[in-house]
C-alpha cells in the first residue's frame, strides 16, 4: 500500500551501540529518518554524535545493533558502500586534501568513473546553482574555512544522495548564506531526500527542523519537535542541566582609555589569493568587548597576525598597545605589554597536538610569568599552571596532564582561552573563540570573556558567529576583503545590516594583489 511505503522510514537504526574499550560511545541508539525530513542530531561534544554519524557513513563498525535501509537490513562496511546506498556526508573536520585543487578534491570523493573534466563541469554547475561560488582550479590550501566547507557541500550534492548528513554546516556562513543554505536544504528535502542535521546552534535547528534527537553520554535522552520547545529547554536536555545565559558585564561598556589602537594598518597579501589588510582603523578601550564579524577568509587571519605580532606592521605606530607603538615588536614583546592572543586553529596553532598541556602552557607563558627562570623551564610550575587552567575553566581531561590532541575540541578551546585569561591580560585578542565548540563550552568561554572585560580588560573578538557577537560585544565592526568598517555600538546594528556589510561587493583578491 502506498501509505505504508510513505510511512516506512528511509533509514532506521535499532539498538546501535559502539564500544571503545571501556567507553560506550553509543549506547543502544534508536533513530528513524523519513524521506523529506530534516532531522536534527543534537548533543554536546563527546555525546556520541560523531560516532553515530561515522557508523551511518560506514567509517566505523557498530559493536551491536541493526541498520535498516529502505526496509532491508544492511551492513555499511565502508563509505563507498554508504555512497552506493545513497548516503552523502558533509564533514565537520574537513576531509580535504590541501595540495590538490578544488576539482580534484571533489573528484576523489566520488565513487563513479567520471573523468576529472566532467566532474569539473558539474562542480561549476552545482556551485553556481546553489550560489556557492567555488573556483575549480584553486589549490585548497589557499582557501578559507568557509570555502573549504562549500567544497564539502558540493562534493556531497554531486552524488545525488537520498540521505545527506551535515555536520555543523553553517558555522562559516553569513546569515544570508545560511538562509540560502536552508532554502537549499528545504528544496532538497522537498525532493524527497532525508537530511540529518548536526548543529549546536539551537535557533537554527528550531528554524529548520521538525524533529530532533538529543544525545547525552552516548544515549538518546529525548526526541522532540524543536519548534515546540525553547532553545533553552533543548540546551538543558543536551547538557543535563540548565545552561543559563551569559551574564552581561555591567555598564562599563567602553569609554575607558584605549588599550589597542590600529592606525592606517595596511599589509600586502602574503599569498596571491589572500586579501591583505587595507587601511585598518580600530580602537579597543579598557572594559569593552569589540567584535569583528565577517565571512571566513576576508582578512581575519591577517588582522589577527598583525595584532599579535606574528606579522609585523610596516611602521611602529600602525599598532599601539597600552600606549606604546609596537608595530615592529614581536609577539613576546607585545605579551610583556599585557596583551594575550588566542588564534583560530586549536590544534597546530594555539596548541601543539603531541605535547602535554603543561608544555603547551609554557608556550604562551614563557616570556611573562614565572614558568621559565634563568632559561630553564620549571616543570612543576608548568604542571601547576596547566592544572590551574583546567580547574578554573572546567577543562575535562582523560588523565592528569594529557596530550593536547587527547582533548575534545571544546575542552581544548577552553584550555586555549583559559591559558591566556588566567594571566589577567589588559588586552585579549581572540580569533573564532567558539568555532566547533558545544553549547556548554561556548557559554563558559563567552562568560569568561565578558567577565574579563568586566574587570577592566579590553577584549577583541573576531568571530563568524553573529549570535555570539550580539550576545557579548559592546561594539561591532565588519571585515570584508581586507577592509574594516567603523566599530558601531551593538544596538546600532541589525543582523541584516551586518550581513550586507559582509557581502559588500569588493574587488577580486587577484586584483587586490595587483594594486598592492
Amino acid at each position: 500500500m502506498a501509505t505504508s511505503i510513505a510511512e516506512r522510514p528511509l533509514v532506521e537504526l535499532r539498538g546501535v551501540s559502539k564500544r571503545y574499550g571501556d567507553l560506550l560511545a553509543n549506547d543502544r541508539i534508536d533513530l528513524a529518518l523519513h524521506r523529506g525530513e530534516i532531522h536534527a542530531l543534537l548533543g554536546e561534544n563527546g555525546a556520541g554524535k560523531s560516532t553515530l554519524v561515522k557508523i551511518l557513513y560506514g567509517v566505523v563498525e557498530p559493536t551491536a545493533g541493526d541498520i535498516v535501509w529502505e526496509g532491508r537490513h544492511v551492513t555499511i562496511a565502508s563509505p563507498v558502500e554508504a555512497r552506493r546506498l545513497g548516503i552523502g556526508m558533509v564533514f565537520q573536520h574537513f576531509s580535504l586534501f590541501d595540495q590538490m585543487t578544488v576539482a580534484e578534491n571533489v573528484a576523489v570523493g566520488l565513487s563513479g568513473a567520471d573523468s576529472l573534466k566532467d566532474v569539473r563541469a558539474r562542480l561549476v554547475e552545482i556551485s553556481r546553482g546553489y550560489g556557492l561560488g567555488l573556483e575549480p582550479d584553486r589549490a585548497v590550501w589557499t582557501l578559507s574555512a568557509g570555502e573549504r566547507q562549500r567544497i564539502e557541500i558540493v562534493r556531497c550534492l554531486l552524488q545525488d544522495p537520498k540521505l545527506i548528513i551535515l555536520d555543523e554546516p553553517t558555522s562559516v556562513l553569513t546569515p544570508q548564506e545560511a538562509e540560502a543554505l536552508f532554502e537549499t536544504l528545504e528544496r532538497l528535502a522537498s525532493e524527497g531526500r532525508a537530511i540529518l542535521y548536526i548543529s549546536h546552534r539551537l535557533e537554527e535547528v528550531r528554524r529548520l527542523c521538525r524533529s530532533a534527537t538529543i544525545l547525552r553520554a552516548g544515549r538518546v535522552v529525548a526526541t522532540v519537535d524543536p519548534r515546540a520547545r525553547s532553545a533553552r529547554e533543548i540546551a538543558a536536555l543536551m547538557v543535563g542541566s540548565d545552561v543559563g545565559e551569559v551574564k552581561p558585564h555591567g555598564p562599563s561598556g567602553g569609554g575607558g582609555e584605549a588599550a589597542l589602537s590600529l592606525r592606517h594598518l595596511t599589509l600586502p597579501p602574503a599569498e596571491p589569493h589572500q586579501w591583505g589588510l587595507k587601511d585598518i582603523e580600530l580602537t579597543v578601550c579598557k572594559g569593552e568587548i569589540v567584535g569583528i564579524a565577517g565571512v571566513a577568509g576576508n582578512g581575519q587571519g591577517e588582522l589577527f597576525a598583525a595584532i599579535s605580532g606574528e606579522q609585523l606592521a610596516p611602521r611602529p605606530e600602525n599598532v599601539i598597545i597600552a600606549g606604546r607603538a609596537c608595530g615592529r615588536i614581536g609577539i613576546d614583546g607585545r605579551r610583556r605589554l599585557g596583551a594575550a592572543f588566542v588564534p583560530e586553529e586549536r590544534l597546530g596553532h594555539a596548541a601543539v597536538p603531541s605535547h602535554r598541556l603543561s608544555d603547551n602552557a609554557v608556550l604562551s607563558h614563557h616570556a611573562s610569568g614565572d614558568v621559565v627562570r634563568g632559561g630553564l623551564v620549571r616543570f612543576s610550575a608548568a604542571r601547576r599552571l596547566a592544572r590551574a587552567i583546567a580547574d578554573t575553566f572546567d577543562v575535562r581531561t582523560p588523565e592528569r596532564d594529557p596530550l593536547a590532541r587527547q582533548l575534545s575540541g571544546g575542552n581544548l578551546q577552553k584550555f586555549a582561552v583559559g591559558r591566556e585569561i588566567i594571566r589577567r591580560p589588559a588586552l585579549l585578542v581572540v580569533n573564532q573563540p567558539t568555532w566547533g565548540v558545544d553549547a556548554g563550552a561556548a557559554r563558559l568561554i563567552r562568560q569568561a570573556l565578558v567577565d574579563l572585560a568586566g574587570e577592566g580588560a579590553a577584549v577583541l573578538v573576531i568571530s563568524q558567529d553573529l549570535d555570539e557577537l550580539f550576545e557579548i560585544a559592546d561594539r561591532i565592526a565588519v571585515i570584508h576583503s581586507g577592509r574594516l568598517t567603523e566599530a558601531r555600538p551593538r544596538a546600532a546594528w541589525t543582523r541584516e545590516a551586518i550581513g550586507l556589510e559582509m557581502l559588500a561587493a569588493g574587488e577580486e583578491p587577484a586584483e587586490a594583489a595587483h594594486a598592492a
Binding site: 567509517v59 565502508s78 576531509s95 595540495q99 589549490a139 599569498e271
Partner: protein, 305 residues
C-alpha cells in the same frame, strides 16, 4: 665515435639506474610511505639478477629475477610498515642493511663471473646518423624504458583517477579513509612498484653497466635516488632532470680526475652531489608551499573501525 659522443653515452648509462629507482620511490612516497630501503632493494636486484643471468645464461631471466627480488624486499617492508604499522624510517634503514648483507651472500659465488654486453638497439639508417645517431637511437632498451616510465608516472599521477586516489592518500590518509579510499591496499601496490623499480635499477647495474658483480656495487646510488625524489619536490619531470644532472656531473668529474686538472680528487667526487642539490634547490625556489612533501609522508596508518 668521437670522445664527446662517448662521454654523452656514458652519461646516459650512469643516469638511467638513478632515474628508474627514483621513479619507483617517487610513487611510493606520493602514496605516503617513506622507504629508505632503496639501496638494499637495488643491491638485491643486482645480486639476484646477476646470479640468475649467469646460472641460466639468460639476460631476460636475470632481469625478471632482479625485479622479483626488489619486489620481494618491498613486500617485506610493506609487511612491517603497513601490516604492523612499524616506524618507516627504522624499517627502511633495516631493509637497506639487510639487503646489502644478503646480496653479498647470494652474490659471493658469482664474484669474478662476467656477462657479455647486451647489444644496444640498432635501427638501420637512424642509428648510423652522424652525431646524434648513437645517442638517440642506439641505446639499450633500459634507457628507453626509463624515459617511458617517467612519462607514464607523470601521466598516472597527474591525469589518472587512480593517480588522484594515490595522491589523496599520501596527502591525508585519515581523510582518504573517511572517504572510503583503500589506503593500505594503495600503499602496498605503490611500495611493490617502488621495489620492482629498485630491483630493475639494480639489475641494470650488474648486467648492463658493469657486467660483473661485486659486493656493495650499488655504491650509494639508492640513497642518491632517494635524495633526488626529495629535491625534485616529488615531481617526475624534475626527478628526470636531477637524475641526468647527477649522471652528467659524475661522468664529467671522472674525466676531470683523469685529466689532472689540479683540483683534489675528493673535491671532484663531491661535485655531482653539490651540483644536483644546487640545481634542484634553484628549481624549487619561489613556489611556496606548493612544493611541500605529501602530508602523510612517513606516518603509520591504522584504520579506525
Amino acid at each position: 665515435m668521437t670522445a664527446f659522443e662517448a662521454i654523452l653515452l656514458t652519461i646516459v648509462t650512469a643516469s638511467t639506474p638513478l632515474l628508474i629507482a627514483a621513479m619507483g620511490e617517487l610513487v611510493a612516497e606520493r602514496s605516503g610511505v617513506l622507504n629508505l630501503g632503496v639501496e638494499g632493494m637495488m643491491a638485491m636486484g643486482a645480486a639476484c639478477g646477476f646470479a640468475a643471468a649467469v646460472t641460466f645464461d639468460s639476460t631476460i631471466i636475470g632481469i625478471a629475477v632482479g625485479v622479483l627480488a626488489g619486489t620481494a624486499m618491498a613486500g617485506l617492508f610493506a609487511l612491517a610498515v603497513l601490516g604492523l604499522a612499524a616506524n618507516q624510517v627504522g624499517s627502511g634503514l633495516a631493509l637497506t642493511i639487510f639487503g646489502l648483507g644478503l646480496s653479498g651472500l647470494i652474490g659471493a659465488p658469482f664474484v669474478g663471473a662476467r656477462r657479455d654486453p647486451v647489444s644496444p638497439l640498432a635501427i638501420p639508417g637512424l642509428t648510423d646518423l652522424p652525431g646524434v645517431g648513437r645517442l638517440m637511437f642506439g641505446q639499450d632498451a633500459f634507457v628507453y624504458f626509463s624515459l617511458a616510465l617517467t612519462v607514464a608516472v607523470a601521466l598516472f599521477l597527474g591525469r589518472s583517477r587512480s593517480g588522484l586516489t594515490l595522491r589523496a592518500i599520501g596527502e591525508n590518509h585519515a581523510s582518504a579513509h573517511a572517504l572510503g579510499l583503500p589506503v593500505l591496499r594503495t600503499r602496498l601496490l605503490a611500495l611493490l612498484f617502488g621495489g620492482a623499480c629498485a630491483g630493475l635499477a639494480g639489475v641494470y647495474l650488474s648486467l648492463i653497466y658493469t657486467r660483473f658483480w661485486s659486493p656493495g656495487m650499488t655504491a650509494g646510488r639508492g640513497w642518491i635516488a632517494l635524495a633526488l625524489v626529495v629535491f625534485a619536490a616529488w615531481r617526475p619531470a624534475y626527478a628526470l632532470i636531477g637524475a641526468y644532472l647527477f649522471g652528467t656531473a659524475t661522468v664529467l668529474q671522472l674525466h676531470a680526475q683523469a685529466g689532472q686538472i689540479g683540483l683534489p680528487a675528493q673535491l671532484l667526487s663531491a661535485a655531482p652531489y653539490v651540483a644536483t642539490i644546487l640545481a634542484l634547490v634553484l628549481l624549487s625556489l619561489g613556489r611556496g608551499r606548493a612544493i611541500g612533501a605529501p602530508g602523510s609522508l612517513g606516518q603509520p596508518f591504522v584504520p579506525e573501525r
